[in-house]
Symmetry: C2
Subunit: 105 residues, 2 copies
Amino acid sequence: MAYKIALAALADPTRRAVFERLREGPMGVGEIAAELPVSRPAVSQHLKVLKDAGLVADEARGTARIYRIHADGLRELRDWLDGFWDDALANFKAHAERDAEGDEQ
Amino acid sequence: MAYKIALAALADPTRRAVFERLREGPMGVGEIAAELPVSRPAVSQHLKVLKDAGLVADEARGTARIYRIHADGLRELRDWLDGFWDDALANFKAHAERDAEGDEQ
DNA sequence: GCTTACGGTAAGTTATGGCTTACAAAATAG
DNA sequence: CTATTTTGTAAGCCATAACTTACCGTAAGC
C-alpha cells in the first residue's frame, strides 16, 4: 500500500535530487540544500514527503536534524515492482507462444 | 535516464490503474476504460504517457489497438532501484558500525 | 458507396503541488 | 539570559497536468 506514496514521492525531480544527495551519506537539511537550486524550506518540505513515504529517516543532532536513506520505503517499492516484473515476463512468454501457434496454423 | 519518465508515469493513481489493468493480459482501450471511473479519452492519454515511458506496447488489431505491458521501462526502473538498494544497505551497515565504535569509546 | 465501431487529438477548465518569503520553535554559545 | 544557528511551518503564487466534451481519422460490415 505504501509503494504508492513512495512512487509519488520519487516522481518529482527536485525531491529525487534530495534523495540522491543522501546517497553520499547522512547529512543535515542546510547541507543538502547548499548544492541544490532551491531554497532550504523547499528541501525541508521535500524531506517531509520522503519521510512519510518511508524513504528517509531523521535523527536530532543538536539543533540540526540529520537525514539518511531508510530501507523500508525502498523495499515496498521493490516488492511491488518485482510482482510486475514476473507478470510481465509471463505475459511476454504467453504472447510469444500464442504467436508461435498462429504461425503454425 | 528513462527511469525518470517511468517514475513520473507510475506516480498518477489513475495511470497506475490503467497499467495494473494490463496485468490481466493485453486488451483494447475501451476495454480498459470500461471498469475505470474515467472517460475513454483519458485512458488514451494515459496510455500515451505509459508508452513514452516504455511501460506498455501497442499493436493494431483491425480498428482496435491492443495494449500490453512492456518490460523495457520496468527494467530501467528496477536497475535504478537496485542501485539505491545496495547503497542503502551499505549505508545502514556503515552507520551501525559507527554506532558500535561510539559505544566502545 | 454509406454507416458503425474504435481510438487518437484539440481546446478549455480546474485542482494539485512545488516554490518563495516570512515567521516561529528549539538547542547551543557566549 | 541573550544571541546565533538550524530547522519546521504558514500563506500565497503560479505552473503543471489530469479530466471532460467535441471532433476527426480509419478500418470493417451491410
